[in-house]
């Protein structure tokens, strides 16, 4: 198993290397100029040239790439063009926000999707199944920004049940230790602030989790249906096992595999979706930062964020693959 993990990690290196080249080329092919973004309406040709030189953007592309790669190999992601702060510092400041949101969305999607899928499979072709199908079709077809703004309008603006934006009411002052609002408030025993943070998480987590919810529901339903028709399930029922035991031990145990794969794949989608969700809900995370960096032509930031996201995606895939071995003992990696 250890050998397998090491091999997978080593295999990730050429992938990331290739990606760094493609990303670099991709971003430099985009029209636009960070110097102009920095100067705005004051971007005279002379000033622009001066700033391009300061940023090293007047060098040939291959030289810029080698410099970038050299930095990367030293574990240095470089600096933001706009704020001039080290990218890794800015990333670590914002990443907890994205993790909090993504985990919230996953809990929503998995926590609701699996029971819904099981329910639909048990009542296949019935009214309940139809309702679940409608919900999942809606979930997958409504764009996040439409759902997000609609949720805001209904639950924040009209009903005033939940806040519309941010991670915490700005009037509440808390001490940041880990930059996870929910963890930091608990560490300080600040329960009202914890619940305030939680209430801020609900709408964005639902908006972000809607597509994974739909997918997980459909996959769970299909997978459970598949397994339900297997001989061993019929045998289990024939020998008089309780429906609860058949469901838990014989059906779900075997239906898990595709569901877990899909959950793993959703992480990539969630990180991409966070870009929009965080912008709509003014959520201080990496996603909103990405939008800002693209608008500002902050090449180095965009490059680094996508590279880190790719790394996260690779690691999550690996974790999912390892997870298989625990769910299905027949799978062995060597």
């Amino acid at each position: 198993m250890t050998k397998y993990i090491i091999r997978r990690l080593l295999a990730a290196i050429p992938v990331l290397f290739g990606l760094s080249i493609i990303l670099f080329a991709f971003i430099h092919l985009l029209p636009g100029d960070p110097a102009v973004a920095l100067l705005g309406q004051h971007a005279t040709p002379e000033l622009t040239a001066e700033i391009r030189a300061q940023l090293g953007l007047d060098q040939p592309l291959w030289q810029q790439y080698l410099a970038y790669l050299g930095q990367l190999l030293h574990g240095d992601l470089g600096k933001s063009i706009i704020t001039n702060r080290p990218i890794i510092d800015e990333f670590l400041l914002r990443f907890p926000g994205t993790v909090e949101l993504t985990v919230g969305a996953l809990i929503f999607a998995v926590g609701l999707g699996i029971p819904l899928g099981r329910y639909a499979a048990r009542h296949v072709q019935g009214f309940g199944d139809g309702m679940v199908t409608v919900i999942s079709l809606l979930g997958i077809s409504i764009p996040i920004f439409v759902l997000g703004l609609t949720l805001q309008y209904i639950f924040a603006v009209q009903l005033k049940w939940l806040p519309a934006s941010g991670r915490l009411d700005p009037r509440i002052a808390i001490e940041y230790h880990t930059n996870f609002v929910l963890i930091d408030t608990l560490l300080d025993g600040n329960i009202p602030a914890f619940f305030n943070g939680l209430s801020h998480l609900i709408l964005p987590a639902i908006a972000l989790g809607s597509i994974p919810l739909a997918i997980i529901t459909r996959i769970t339903r299909a997978s459970v249906l598949d397994v339900t028709n297997e001989d061993y399930v019929r045998t289990a029922r024939a020998k008089g096992l309780s429906e609860r035991r058949v469901g838990g031990r014989h059906i779900m145990r075997n239906a898990w595999l595709p569901v877990v794969t899909v959950i793993g794949l959703q992480v990539g989608g969630l990180l991409a979706g966070a870009v929009i969700t965080e912008t709509i809900f003014s959520w201080n995370g990496v996603g909103r930062w990405t939008v800002q960096a693209i608008q500002d032509h902050d090449y180095f930031v965009v490059q680094s964020i996508i590279l880190i996201f790719a790394l996260i995606f690779l690691v999550v895939n690996l974790v999912v693959d390892i997870g298989y071995a625990f769910i299905n003992p027949r799978i062995r990696y060597a």
């Binding site: 029209p31 705005g40 703004l149 603006v157 700005p170």
Partner: protein
């Protein structure tokens, strides 16, 4: 797998583009931090009125709500973007200035609520100016201390200006934009030849050549006076601002953003919030803040901003999209502030080095063909006015020029009279593809409206577009024949629009973007800038405007308004079209 990931990356980018297109106020901010409507007669030098010791900050204005202000509470303000750095001398964007101006004060400021008067702030009175317009002598207000306890004196003022003049190369231009542009450069190149403190309460500034708009530029937060103790301790002039704790806003109160204002800096969590708190020992009791604290939150999405205001997440939003104004007005829990005359211009640029734009009658035909009121209605929800000059109304020496308004028949007859051959009536119209500006909320739609009007007058229009970041250098270098562009004020004197933006001369040659500039225009500009009295400056600016009206080099289209909105219980706010809005008068009626 690589393919999948690329697809994912592509998807992220695609979604980002969608997300961006919904944002009405794009990021990198041109500064609109300066005066808007201005008749700064006083600015000009010699004939200055005798020093009046006006209160440094804000007397409650006519717009302040009736009732006795209540002290206390925190105001949550939504800004279109985050502060960039905590040191105003290193920023030139409106988001940073909007926060900093409440904390850091300059020698002079604008009288709140009136917008047309420069008043002394950290200066005890307006400066005396020598007859040649070169020497400004300021008396510094006594008994004022910075938020870290350092006393304000003439040496502190000198330190601040000298620090900017001597900025390391890497901090010039992209960071310290305004010192360079106001004084024409840094170090020996600067028109600020010397700044000295003959005694503890006197500062003397000497210019190389007269700058009749000098005093007006000094109201910018970028010329704010900060505590020399804190600037030094926070390594504020480090050539790399990421290594300067002062610029990074680290350490909180008394360590960063240390000024003399009614509010003091407390903390900045980048991309999340900036908090400033009441200065309980503010030197001017009449200007003492009512609020305990203000928290500024960056919110780029305009719809999300309105939702947050309606939901009560924020109390005040510095900008509201034109098409949200009606919604906010209909909501009894909200109030909308019309900032009155705005501080920007949208312009149809015409490059005179390209035929047929060198033809006056044809340019007039274009101007008569454009139904500009229809643009105000369609794209700004009425939140704009038709432009009648190349600068917004209310500027010093502004003249209503009576520029052509929509008259299709006249347009057609002028096209015929111009004698321009038919093939030259095929025009290419450029607009930026990936951006909206406050003065240009829908570039593509506005380009289409302009084209529709021009085609009705007999032109044939082809569209071209490119992203903002290549668009700006392309029009500035004269590559675009006809294009939409605009300008947001830096300061409210004519030179900021007529020279810095539009028709300035470089090395005796006119700006490449329009390639227009008769010698008499240059003479008028030079005379206006060197004038040592207001009257002389106004005369010269008037001549410049008359020349422009006669030649109609481009077609100014509209000035957009820039409304703000707040919860109904936010009281005492004094709006200003240039965003020089101080929050010390604001209180919460709750």
């Amino acid at each position: 797998m690589v393919k999948n990931r690329l697809l994912a990356a592509g998807a992220v980018l695609a979604m980002v583009v969608m997300a961006c297109s919904s944002s009405a106020t794009p990021s990198p901010a041109p500064a609109s931090a300066a005066p808007a409507t201005q008749a700064p007669a006083s600015q000009a030098p010699a004939s200055m009125a005798p020093a009046t010791v006006a209160p440094a900050t804000v007397a409650p204005s006519a717009t302040a709500a009736a009732g006795t202000p209540k002290d206390g509470g925190t105001l949550v303000v939504a800004l279109p973007g985050d502060m960039v750095l905590a040191d105003p001398t290193l920023t030139s964007d409106s988001n940073s200035s909007y926060v900093q101006q409440n904390v850091i004060q300059s020698l002079v400021g604008l009288k709140p609520g009136t917008l047309d008067t420069v008043i002394p702030v950290l200066a005890e009175s307006l400066p005396t100016v020598s007859a040649d317009g070169l020497t400004y002598t300021f008396k510094i207000r006594q008994g004022v201390t910075f938020h870290d306890g350092t006393p304000l004196d003439a040496a502190a003022v000198v330190y601040n200006y000298q620090r900017q003049k001597d900025m390391p190369k890497s901090l010039q231009d992209a960071y310290n934009y305004y010192f360079g542009v106001v004084f024409g450069g840094f170090g020996d190149k600067s028109n600020l030849k010397s700044i000295t403190a003959p005694d503890a309460s006197t500062v003397v500034m000497t210019l190389g050549t007269p700058q009749s708009t000098f005093l007006l530029t000094q109201i910018l937060p970028q010329f704010g006076i900060q505590s020399p103790t804190a600037l030094k301790a926070g390594d504020s002039s480090n050539p790399d601002p990421s290594k300067s704790p002062y610029a990074q806003g680290q350490g909180g109160l008394g360590k960063s953003m240390v000024g003399t204002g009614p509010f003091m800096f407390k903390e900045w969590v980048p991309n999340d919030h900036v908090t400033i708190v009441k200065n309980p020992t503010y030197f001017d009791p009449a200007g003492m803040a009512h609020l305990d604290a203000i928290t500024y939150r960056p919110m780029s999405d305009t719809t999300a901003r309105l939702n947050a205001l309606q939901a009560g997440d924020v109390d005040f939003t510095q900008q509201i999209a034109p098409n949200d104004v009606a919604t906010a007005q209909a909501d009894s829990t909200l109030q909308v502030y019309d900032r009155g005359s705005s501080c920007n211009i949208l312009n149809l640029g015409l490059n005179h080095s390209v035929k047929p734009f060198d033809n006056l009658q044809l340019r007039q035909a274009i101007a008569y063909a454009l139904n500009r009121q229809s643009y105000v209605d369609a794209f700004y929800s009425g939140q704009a006015i038709m432009a009648d000059n190349w600068m917004p109304p209310g500027f010093f020496s502004y003249k209503a020029l009576g520029l052509p308004t929509f008259d299709l028949a006249k347009a057609k007859s002028l096209v015929a009279a111009s004698g321009v051959p038919a093939d030259q009536l095929n025009l290419t119209l450029w607009y930026p593809s990936n951006v909206t500006r406050p003065y240009m909320p829908d570039p593509k739609g506005e380009a289409e409206a302009v084209a529709r009007d021009l085609e009705a007058a007999g032109f044939k229009i082809t569209f071209k577009t490119e992203p903002w970041a290549t668009y700006i250098p392309d029009f500035q270098s004269g590559k675009l024949p006809m294009f939409l562009s605009g300008w947001t004020c830096d300061w409210a004197a004519p030179d900021n629009f007529l020279i810095a933006w539009a028709f300035g001369f470089q090395g005796g040659k006119p700006n490449a973007q329009f390639n227009y500039g008769p010698p008499e225009l240059k003479t008028a500009f030079d005379t206006a800038m060197a004038a040592s009295t207001d009257a002389a400056a106004a005369t010269a600016w008037g001549q410049a405007q008359d020349i422009l009206a006669k030649d109609l080099p481009t077609v100014p289209l509209v000035s957009s308004k820039n409304a703000a909105a707040a919860k109904a219980d936010v009281m005492g706010f004094v709006p200003a079209g240039n965003l020089t809005e101080l929050m010390n008068t604001v209180w919460l009626n709750r």
